[in-house]
């Protein structure tokens, strides 16, 4: 049947795919600015490297697949993937890390499955997970991000030399040097650090929150997370992401943490603050809500989000990796087809049967 469809913008104005992606990129800007304020030019370098390399990989692979470049290349999805990957990497990691990561995220996780819309796993997070499995020492080195005093000592040229012009052995040596210089225990996010340091039994909550000695370690983390949260609220107002995923995510994480805080006593951070540590907000509003890899039904989205929250708590408390978000999101992505199948909505007229 020859049937051509009519779509006039006079009747109903709908967003196009690249418009959605552009708005999502816009929403990351406050987070990027705050990170730039604390971590200096290194963040921008990482983002720039991963974005450029992911665009190049996408271009090469689309040429190889003989796709129409106009429709497939201009949807900005590779740019968004690059930004998210660059934000989640440690800031002073060597230059080839981001290129390897974007290679995995664009080609292995996305294009080999059939391009945008067909990938099962979130591209940015699968790239991050592969990096953290294959280069564990480099990827778990968060000492610079926690030690702002040390970062302030470094120039732009120092950062450039660390990122671009060091061999791997020199890099390891430098790491150990810096860690000797600093007063803090390295190789961990604040979450990890809390877990190791404080296992004391809590009696008074309000006094406990401020009783931690190294409170300024995670103060900037809270601000960064808050900026991502505001970006997420912007996306929610623009109706680009569904509120069900991030809120069920945060709610289930909050409940798990508060259960832990009041009953099991594994981690001694106040649960509300725990939502603002690490890259929780970025995961909740930017990575878990990636429309391709989430469930499409309403109940399914709530199940999906709460699944991620519970897994984050489990990995944070019992697992070996400090950043639990990538693994829990990948785990939840693999369950999505099952969730979709079992949470189909009732169609019109079926309930009254």
């Amino acid at each position: 049947m020859d049937y051509r469809y009519i779509k006039i913008n006079d009747i109903y104005i709908c967003r196009s795919t690249n418009n959605i992606m552009l708005l999502a990129i816009l929403a990351t800007i406050p987070g990027v600015i705050i990170e730039f304020y604390y971590f200096k030019i290194a963040v921008l370098i990482q983002i720039f490297l991963s974005v450029i390399s992911s665009i190049i990989f996408e271009f090469i692979f689309l040429k190889l697949r003989k796709k129409n470049l106009y429709t497939f290349f201009l949807d900005y999805s590779s740019v968004l993937t690059g930004i998210l990957l660059g934000l989640s990497l440690p800031i002073l990691s060597p230059w080839w890390i981001s290129i390897v990561g974007s290679f995995f995220s664009i080609i292995v996780a996305k294009q080999l499955y059939g391009g945008l819309g067909n990938n099962i796993f979130n591209p940015a997070m699968s790239g991050y997970a592969i990096l953290s499995i294959s280069f564990p020492i480099l990827m778990t080195n968060w000492s610079f991000q926690n030690n702002l005093a040390l970062l302030n000592m470094l120039n732009v040229s120092d950062m450039m030399s660390i990122i671009f012009f060091t061999d791997l052995e020199d890099y390891y040596k430098m790491m150990s040097k810096f860690s000797e210089m600093s007063n803090f225990i390295t190789q961990s996010t604040p979450l990890e650090q809390m877990r190791i340091q404080n296992r004391s039994i809590v009696t008074n909550i309000t006094s406990f929150i401020f009783s931690l000695e190294n409170i300024d370690i995670y103060r900037h983390w809270i601000l960064i997370n808050f900026s991502f949260f505001s970006g997420g609220i912007f996306l929610l107002i623009k109706k680009i992401i569904c509120w069900r995923v991030p809120f069920s995510f945060l709610f289930s994480l909050f409940i798990c943490c508060s259960l832990d805080f009041f009953y099991f006593k594994h981690i001694n951070i106040f649960p509300l603050i725990q939502l603002f540590l690490g890259s929780t907000m970025m995961g909740a509003f930017f990575i878990a809500t990636d429309p391709v890899t989430t469930s499409i039904t309403k109940i399914g989205r709530i199940i999906f989000g709460s699944f991620i929250g519970i897994f984050i708590w489990i990995i944070r408390v019992f697992g070996g990796y400090p950043d639990a978000i990538s693994f829990s999101i990948l785990l939840a992505n693999s369950v999505v087809p099952l969730i979709d199948y079992y949470t189909q909505p009732y169609i019109y007229g079926k309930k009254t049967k």
Binding site: Y5, I11, I215, V292, I347, G349
Partner: protein
């Protein structure tokens, strides 16, 4: 350290305050959404810009009768030999051209004149099916044929009135084209409420609004006919909230009747569909696979009721209808009374519209068809003609689906279009049937909201056609298997099975060999062969039947 802690305490207080305000804001927003949902009672739907001017619907314009008229006749009617008129015969206005068959209503001549030609044509854009077209040249006199009219309809029995409605060719003018006489017949004794559907939720269309403004009294008379036929207790008239003048006019008319009510409904796109209208008015859902009469509700379009009134009281068959004519930018929009069968280029020419730079859409902008052949006539169900610029869909390239759920959020039937798209693209028929593709009402919302510009309706229609084919084939194979089994059992019981096979084949070959030698023309041979085979088969079957009779 202490100062730092104090500082942080202050900050925390600020933070808590801010979070509390945010939570309150969110609460208000969510409450608003829930309240809004409750008030409109319809799942999904889009609030599109209406593109209607009230000036257009106040005045009804007339155009002179065209000289040539084309009338589309379905192919089934030609096969069943239901066309009464011949080429060269003179017809009068209102004379029956073809009789009805099954779900197709009888067709009447819209003008008086001479039947010049009965040709066959296939339109690519319309159903992709063969139609035979009756060409009539009008003489411009409009001499009417004598017709039966029941101006005092209360003297007649309901069956007689329904027969009259059938004979005057009234179909549902809302878009489906279902026979209204059949609808009336089904709902005798079942229905207790009549819903008059005056909500044209699709943009650009104002024909029903125009009809109510000009003929409000006749619409109410038509309602009374249906009330009398079906013994209905209460009548609901649903009208959109932006048609104020029509609302006031109907309210004036129904003052005398206590059981008539008029409702204003919100202007959301698929609220004109009967199932969605029932959901809005009664907060009930029509059960799957059943009609609205199972709830005791009959839904009729306004223009259908108007034409029923015309048929019963004035004795006029359905030969005219109101059509809206508009531009994309609304530089003009008017309602015209047109005879059924008027070619579209004639209408455009008479209204001084340059149609050569435009592409013409018949029907609404969401569900309508783009027309290639401008000699396509106005049908009974077509209510709108839209002129659009030619290059309006140049930069709309199809990009991959990113599962953003814009379509499933707005689907009024609560289907999952992205899953259906995936299955219909990969030809997974069982899965698409499992996800209820047959319940799709083809409203076209999913296309309009799709950010990737995927023509979803095209995929769904293709898939539906294929599913129908599969079901048809299954049914046919079952039927023929049954026939074959019964024949086999018959042959076994008569004991003829062996003789038939041996003798028939030998005889045929022997005779055919001689024929082949004689004739060199191949086509002739095949014709000869087939005729000979048929003759042979006939003889054999007659012999078999005789034998069977003897045995019994």
């Amino acid at each position: 350290m202490i100062t730092l802690i104090n500082n942080f305490k202050q900050h925390l207080f600020m933070c808590v305050n801010f979070v509390w305000v945010l939570i309150r804001l969110c609460y208000i927003h969510v409450k608003k959404i829930i309240l809004f949902r409750k008030s409109r009672d319809l799942y999904g739907g889009i609030e599109c810009i209406s593109m209607k001017t009230s000036k257009s619907s106040s005045r009804l314009e007339y155009i002179p009768i065209p000289k040539k008229i084309f009338i589309l006749v379905d192919d089934i009617i030609v096969l069943q030999k239901k066309i009464i008129v011949d080429v060269g015969q003179s017809v009068l206005l209102g004379q029956v051209l073809s009789l009805g068959y099954k779900h197709i209503a009888p067709i009447h001549s819209p003008v008086s004149g001479i039947v010049t030609k009965i040709s066959q044509k296939k339109y690519n854009f319309f159903l992709n099916k063969r139609f035979s077209i009756i060409n009539i040249r009008s003489d411009g006199k409009d001499t009417k044929i004598d017709s039966i009219l029941m101006s005092n309809y209360k003297k007649f029995s309901p069956d007689e009135i329904i027969q009259l409605i059938y004979n005057s060719g009234v179909v549902g003018l809302g878009g489906a084209g279902f026979l209204s006489s059949k609808k009336l017949q089904y709902s005798i004794g079942n229905a207790h409420t009549l819903v008059v559907n005056a909500a044209e939720s699709e943009p650009y269309i104002t024909s029903d609004d125009c009809l109510i403004r000009n003929f409000a009294q006749e619409v109410i008379q038509g309602c009374q006919i249906i009330v009398w036929i079906l013994k209905i207790k209460c009548v609901l008239i649903a009208i959109e909230d932006d048609k104020n003048i029509a609302y006031i006019k109907i309210k004036k008319e129904i003052k005398a009747f206590p059981n008539y009510k008029i409702y204003k409904i919100k202007r959301i796109y698929p609220s004109g569909s009967s199932k969605q209208l029932i959901k809005i008015l009664f907060n009930k859902e029509v059960p799957l696979g059943k009609h609205s009469t199972s709830l005791g509700i009959v839904v009729f379009n306004v223009s259908t009721i108007f034409s029923i009134k015309r048929a019963v009281i004035n004795g006029e068959p359905l030969i005219e209808r109101i059509v809206t004519l508009s531009d994309r930018r609304l530089s003009y929009q008017k309602n015209i009374l047109v005879r059924v069968g008027t070619p579209i280029n004639y209408i455009l020419k008479k209204c001084n519209i340059n149609y050569k730079d435009n592409s013409v859409v018949i029907g609404g902008p969401i569900t309508g068809l783009i027309i290639d052949d401008l000699s396509f006539p106005i049908l009974k169900t077509s209510n709108n003609i839209l002129c659009l610029e030619l290059n309006f869909m140049d930069n709309r390239l199809e990009s991959p689906c990113i599962r953003c759920t814009a379509c499933s959020r707005t689907c009024p039937m609560r289907l999952l279009p992205e899953q259906l798209y995936f299955y219909s693209k990969s030809f997974d028929h069982n899965k698409s049937r499992e996800y209820h593709i047959n319940e799709c009402i083809e409203c076209g919302i999913c296309e309009q909201v799709c950010p990737s510009n995927i023509p979803l309706l095209r995929y769904f229609r293709k898939e539906k056609l294929k599913l129908n084919e599969i079901i048809f084939k299954e049914n046919m194979s079952k039927k023929f298997k049954k026939l074959f089994v019964s024949r086999q059992s018959r042959l076994n019981s008569s004991g003829l099975i062996n003789e038939n096979i041996i003798y028939s084949s030998n005889n045929l070959d022997r005779v055919l060999d001689k024929k082949v030698v004689c004739n060199t023309d191949i086509e002739y041979i095949t014709i000869e062969k087939s005729q000979f085979m048929r003759k042979k088969e006939l003889e054999e079957s007659i012999a078999r039947a005789k034998l069977k009779r003897n045995i019994e």
